[in-house]
Amino acid sequence: MLPMIVYETLSVDEQLEDLGVTEGRILELQSVDERPYDDGYFVILNWQEATTFLQTAIKKAPRILTVWVHTPKDKTRDYRIVDRILNRIDSLLLGIEQQSGSDSTRVTCVIKQGRSGNLIDDGWKTIARNATYGVLYDEYAV
């Protein structure tokens, strides 16, 4: 179960739209086989593991979310728009605190864990960067 608040926060944001990231350009990695767009910018959400090794009072761990921003590398090699999109996503995701989306899954908070360097995705032939977050929510409660 993924917390819908994350997708819903990103998909209605006007600043992301102004940067070319409209609702249909935010996709989950597992729903994509080939590069989804041949121009403009698109965002890929990759929901990964939640690791609970440490003996803590709270028996749950943040789930790792990697957010990729891509644009075809034959159109541009300029990462500045990619960075601006990542910055906007940063402020949107880090602002989610004790909020629920249409699925009623509540996100406690989102923690920033770092960004990649400037990458070339040779599979999709794009320039790309990613940012990693820890999303603390209780997927067992729904």
């Binding site: 090794f53 003996q55 070339i120 040779d122």
Partner: protein, 122 residues
């Protein structure tokens, strides 16, 4: 008038404190050695791709380095296209990057238990 005498032998305490640094270092090395084996198995078993030649999966390794009080665990591919697997298609086949997070958390967990167990004199 009562008189109480306490005869306290602190030689064991002194010795434990004196040798703590070396014992900790030795035990951390052991934790890293153990986790190199754990990590190698984890990487090979969790790599998300379907094998063609099997070279990429079989070449995944985790190697511990301990020099003085510095300890490292190197996780790597043995095939030249390993970086492609980490980055291509939004990291669809990445294994080292999630491995760093998972194995890193496990090592920190082991360290916590190590410190706990060393208070028992080990």
């Amino acid at each position: 008038m009562a008189k109480i005498t306490v005869d306290f032998d602190d030689s064991r305490l002194r010795n434990n404190i004196k040798t703590f640094g070396n014992r900790l270092n030795k035990n951390v090395s052991a934790v890293m050695d153990y986790n190199s084996g754990y990590a190698t198995g984890w990487l090979k078993s969790k790599a998300p791709w379907h094998d063609d030649t099997g070279a990429a999966r079989s070449g995944l390794v985790a190697i511990p380095f301990s020099a003085g009080s510095k300890h490292e665990l190197l996780m790597a591919y043995s095939v030249t296209y390993g970086i492609w697997l980490e980055v291509a298609n939004s990291g669809q086949w990445a294994i080292i990057t999630p491995g760093m997070r998972v194995i890193g958390a496990k090592i920190m967990n082991d360290m916590q238990h190590l410190i706990d167990s060393m208070t028992e004199g080990r």
